[in-house]
């Protein structure tokens, strides 16, 4: 019998009832009395000097409250970057000012040039059309290689060049690395692009700033994955406001995928403008705005080289990557191509020498930052593609070549700074071969060929580092934030429990899975436990949700706080039963004295805590509420192996995914159904990246795919029914739940499997195609076949 309560059970997501019946409370559902609306006039050119802005006609338009330009923000800070990377020479990254509103120069299409606050949104839009701009066009810098070339126009005049940093990681000794390549029996080289993506959560961003003159307090409602981070960044770095006077609320949030981690100009604007206008100010992004103002993801250009000895053992790996930062540094932008990418380059393999070189580049494009997986998909893609290419060049079986090079001893210290605590890559590969029915592929290929289709099989492994930690180490690496999390467990007098968590649920199902843990620990029904999240006015200082960290980090804090609760409750129970607290056991919500039939119920103890008539007041405080902060000792390392089977239509180049199988090791699992869903969603996004999605710019810096008419999102019929298995479980060794995190795996692990499968299909059809850059659109596949 599968469990129906607690850890390991799969109750349906309780939050879905309100989401699916229109009872959710999203930021745009919130309206503040007397609110005004802001419309942002956004740049429609990529690079220009603002010679003048004349707002006088616009100010006279009906309903206009106030019009803001860059000059209004001269006294406040710019949007900060949360990670300072030190380059290969020991110098800090180049960090330009990132203004709320363009200050004299436009640096990307979509940058805010002026903001019109009016009684209604339509009035604000009308007035924005009356603003007169005098711009001096400058050449747009779009291509990264050109941006780094001598004599390129600079995105930021005050910086020395368009290079943000030039970073080396792993083995920094060029000669030693080169020697390993010189002595290799075989070297495989691959140049590839990791395509730029737009996250496109279903809910676009929204911000409502409000200010109370009576209390001198600010409230910002915003679509954020991490309200405390937003409050800290906005108060300390941008607006200079006292944190205790600012409350940031992120209510129901309709998906983030990373794009709602960052502190955005619109949030600071609405907060600032609410004070300046004496009215709440609301902004709701249109989908068109989202394309040119939400941070984009990926956008790497890489050359990767893999050296092998005569026995096909990997002996060295070297990568050279250019990573696009866009026009400004978004909150975690600089950490993504460096520490979230370089540290993963060892993958699941015992390659002894790894060197990662990364140049980050400013261009006149939308800022680029973390997107589901953040750096790890980029690492996995290049590594698993080059291994596949090597297998083809050597005539080796791609599965056997991987198996031969697997790390098998744990803990394992990689040459790129991580220590993998546990894992079993052989087990996940075994499991994958089973669920993917590798043995049956030949027959399926024959069937496809009968129908005039080419069928291909692609495989890859992945490892990710989740629950980014510990704070002191990441601090040494340049993080300007801690990476712990916090939870307060408040037991009510009648025994129900409210857990206030620093994590934020915006699709992950925390409202269902977190209570399962507390219910399991206490032995009560899940329905007695609720979590509260997303409000700095209610929850302890937490770092929010990204990087598959919620259950591993915040969940651990919740366990620690619950342990404190249980310890205290046992003392109360001991008092009630006149026993020693060391003898008290808690099981199924009953406290018993070991070896006796004496017991008191959970509810009696909780009531006693709040009605302390018969209570050891001299030794114990009344009440039952505990907080814990948890700073992990290490990352967690989910890993797995994925397989994709495609059919390619040789006449049109159209790829269809026929099967996709995943064998993941997430350690212990709280809610298997939710984990399945997280993997499904990740796979959908990975398949989207591999086949469909592409944020393409033209040479003038205009986004060509600036709407769903040209930006192809994966739809239900673009993906197959998945075979997902997570029965391989090597529990994390250093957190109390033994959990690893599952949010990003699907997006990290799937693109290489798809591309490997397409290459396999084309080669089976006699086409000598060794690589196609994503997305593998019909046009690109056809061009490669006929190139």
């Amino acid at each position: 019998m599968p469990k129906d309560n607690g850890i390991g059970a799969s109750p349906k997501r309780r939050e879905d009832v309100r989401f699916l019946t229109g009872a959710g409370n999203y930021t745009d559902d919130i309206n503040v009395h007397g609110q005004a609306h802001v419309h942002f006039l956004r740049a429609d050119v990529a690079h220009a000097t603002i010679n003048s802005i004349d707002t006088s006609a616009a100010e006279a338009m009906p309903g206009v409250v106030k019009i803001f330009t860059g000059a209004d923000f001269a006294e406040v800070g710019g949007i900060p970057c949360g990670w300072g990377v030190t380059d290969r020479h020991g110098n800090p990254q180049q960090e330009p000012r990132h203004p709320i509103i363009a200050d004299g120069t436009i640096r990307h299409v979509g940058e805010i040039v002026a903001a019109v606050v009016a009684d209604t949104l339509e009035q604000a839009r009308d007035a924005a059309e009356a603003i007169e701009l005098d711009l001096g066009d400058k050449p747009a810098v779009v291509d990264m290689a050109a941006a780094l070339g001598d004599g390129s126009t600079k995105v930021h005049e005050d910086l020395t060049s368009n290079l943000c940093y030039d970073w080396v990681f792993g083995n920094p000794d060029d000669d030693a690395v080169q020697a390993a390549f010189d002595s290799a029996a075989h070297v495989t080289t691959l140049e590839l692009v990791n395509n730029r993506l737009v996250a496109n959560p279903m809910e676009p961003r929204v911000a409502i700033g409000d200010y109370s003159r009576g209390t001198d307090e600010y409230t910002l409602h915003t679509t954020s994955q991490n309200p405390h981070v937003i409050r800290l960044l906005m108060c300390a770095f941008v607006l200079g406001l006292p944190e205790h006077k600012v409350r940031v609320i992120a209510p129901d949030v309709g998906g983030g995928f990373g794009s709602k981690i960052f502190h955005y100009a619109e949030e600071a604007f609405c907060t600032f403008a609410a004070h300046a206008c004496g009215r709440a100010v609301k902004w709701t992004s249109t989908r068109s705005e989202a394309f040119i103002s939400d941070a984009h993801g990926r956008d790497h250009v890489t050359k990767i080289e893999l050296a092998l000895d005569a026995d096909n053992n990997f002996t060295a790996l070297r990568t050279n990557t250019m990573a696009n930062m866009g026009a400004y540094l978004s909150t975690f932008s600089t950490s993504v191509p460096s520490y979230l990418h370089g540290t993963l380059m060892a993958g699941n393999y015992k390659t002894p020498i790894v060197q990662v070189n990364v140049k980050t580049v400013f261009t006149n494009t939308v800022p680029v930052d973390a997107y589901r997986g953040a750096g790890r998909p980029e690492a996995t893609f290049q590594l698993e593609r080059v291994i596949d290419k090597a297998a083809r060049e050597l005539g080796a079986d791609p599965i056997a070549l991987r198996r031969q090079n697997f790390i098998t001893q744990f803990p394992y210290e990689t040459p790129v700074a991580l220590t993998y605590d546990t894992g079993d890559y052989v087990a996940t590969m075994d499991k994958l071969e089973e669920v993917a029915d590798v043995a049956g592929f030949a027959a399926r290929r024959a069937e496809s060929e009968k129908n005039g289709k080419l069928r291909g099989f692609g495989i890859n492994c992945y490892i990710e580092a989740c629950g980014i930690a510990p704070s002191n180490i990441v601090g040494m690496l340049g993080a300007r934030a801690g990476l712990y999390d916090a939870a307060t467990v408040r037991v009510n007098a009648t025994g129900t429990v409210s857990v206030f968590v620093g994590a934020h649920s915006h699709g992950q199902g925390h409202e269902t899975s977190f209570p399962q843990v507390v219910a399991e620990m206490i032995g009560i029904d899940e329905s007695m436990v609720d979590i509260v999240h997303g409000d700095t006015g209610r929850v302890p200082f937490g770092m929010g949700t990204y990087g598959s960290r919620s259950i591993a980090v915040c969940g651990s804090a919740m366990v620690r706080a619950t342990e404190k609760i249980i310890a205290k409750a046992k003392k109360i129970a001991a008092h009630l039963m006149e026993a020693s607290d060391a003898d008290i056991e808690l099981k199924d919500g009953q406290f018993t004295v070991a070896g006796t039939d004496k017991s008191v119920a959970w509810g009696d103890v909780t009531l006693t805590a709040y009605v302390p008539h018969n209570y050891p007041l001299e030794e114990l405080e009344p009440g039952l509420e505990e907080t814990a902060f948890y700073d992990p000792a290490n990352f967690t390392y989910p890993s797995g192996a994925y397989a994709c089977e495609v059919e390619v239509d040789p006449d049109t180049g159209k790829v269809s995914i026929e099967r996709f199988s995943a064998a993941d090791d997430f350690g212990n699992i709280i809610n298997p159904m939710i984990v399945d869903g997280q993997v499904h969603g990740g796979l959908g996004q990975g398949i989207g990246q591999a086949l469909l999605e592409n944020a393409a710019y033209d040479e003038d810096g205009q986004l060509l795919s600036a709407s769903f008419m040209d930006y192809a999102m994966p739809r239900a019929d673009d993906v197959p029914f998945y075979q997902v298995d997570h029965s391989c479980q090597t529990p994390c060794t250093h957190n109390p739940l033994g959990v690893k995190g599952c949010g990003e795996a699907g997006a990290i692990g799937s693109p290489p499997a798809v591309v490997n499968a397409v290459i396999d299909a084309l080669q089976s059809g006699g086409k000598n195609v060794t690589h196609i850059d994503m997305p593998l659109s019909p046009a690109r596949v056809w061009a490669a076949m006929n190139g």
Binding site: T652, M709, D710, P778
Partner: protein, 262 residues
């Protein structure tokens, strides 16, 4: 959106009168026009809804001639033509998504003449007649380039008459993002000859591929098209496909349409 007035007449005559105002514009299902208004890319003074005019909602099938009112939705065509003109029904049933099909109209689609739209291929491929409040226009005269038609200012498509072919088929190769036609080919075999109309591909909008028609007149079989190709030079080249790719797809989709027509 900018402000506009709204009228919903119940006869064609009232609609024509309402459209006589300067900058008045007809509104069909709004699936193209409303997004355009929301983006402030159009500024009509008045919208005249055509969906309240019973005459424009009529559908009739007179033995070999299917007449579809100008305000009949894609979903209605998909249902009503399933028996009489399956290729047309099939085309209508794959336009956009259910919401689009339940609101978008044949008149709106043909008036808009998007170079990647489906109905223009059906109308041209069937040699349909576009009936307006003022006249009848043959499909061959009606389509005049990207978003260009023979319609005059304020002229309303009241109906479209489709001669039903012996056999026909529409093959739509999806543009991956919009799922309009990257290339769509409508092939129809009539006693008088074969018609092949291509949408999505050309810089000049929907066109007839006369060479293919001649070959198929001789033999209505995919192999008859071997060796034929359209000139890539006049094809659309964009993010989703080069000129060469589109030219290639025209050949592939035409063969598939002929094969599927049987």
């Amino acid at each position: 959106m900018y402000e506009f007035e709204f009228e919903k007449p119940s006869t064609v005559a009232e609609a024509v009168a309402a459209l006589a105002d300067e900058d008045a514009q007809a509104l069909g299902g709004g699936q193209t026009l409303i997004p355009t208004l929301k983006q402030r890319l159009a500024m009509p003074s008045k919208l005249v809804s055509l969906t309240g005019i019973p005459q424009l909602k009529e559908l009739s099938d007179n033995g070999g001639m299917l007449t579809i009112g100008g305000a009949v939705t894609h979903a209605e065509v998909a249902a009503a033509a399933a028996g009489s003109y399956p290729a047309l029904a099939e085309l209508a049933s794959h336009i956009g998504d259910p919401a689009v099909r339940n609101r978008g109209t044949i008149g709106g689609s043909l008036a808009n003449n998007d170079p990647a739209a489906c109905y223009p291929a059906a109308a041209l491929g069937s040699g349909a007649t576009i009936v307006t409040n003022a006249r009848e226009i043959t499909a061959d005269d009606y389509f005049q380039g990207l978003f260009e038609t023979a319609l005059n200012e304020g002229e309303i498509i009241t109906a479209v008459r489709f001669p039903v072919p012996e056999k026909a088929n529409y093959q739509k190769f999806l543009q991956p993002a919009s799922r309009f036609a990257l290339v769509g080919v409508f092939a129809a075999k009539y006693a008088a000859g074969v018609r092949v109309a291509v949408t999505g591909a050309s810089e000049e909008g929907v066109f007839r591929w006369h060479e293919a028609e001649a070959a198929l007149d001789a033999s209505f079989a995919p192999d008859a098209l071997n060796g034929l190709s359209v000139d890539a030079g006049s094809m659309i080249g964009d993010l989703h496909g080069s000129k060469e790719y589109r030219a290639h797809l025209v050949g592939v989709m035409t063969k598939r349409a002929v094969a599927a027509a049987g």
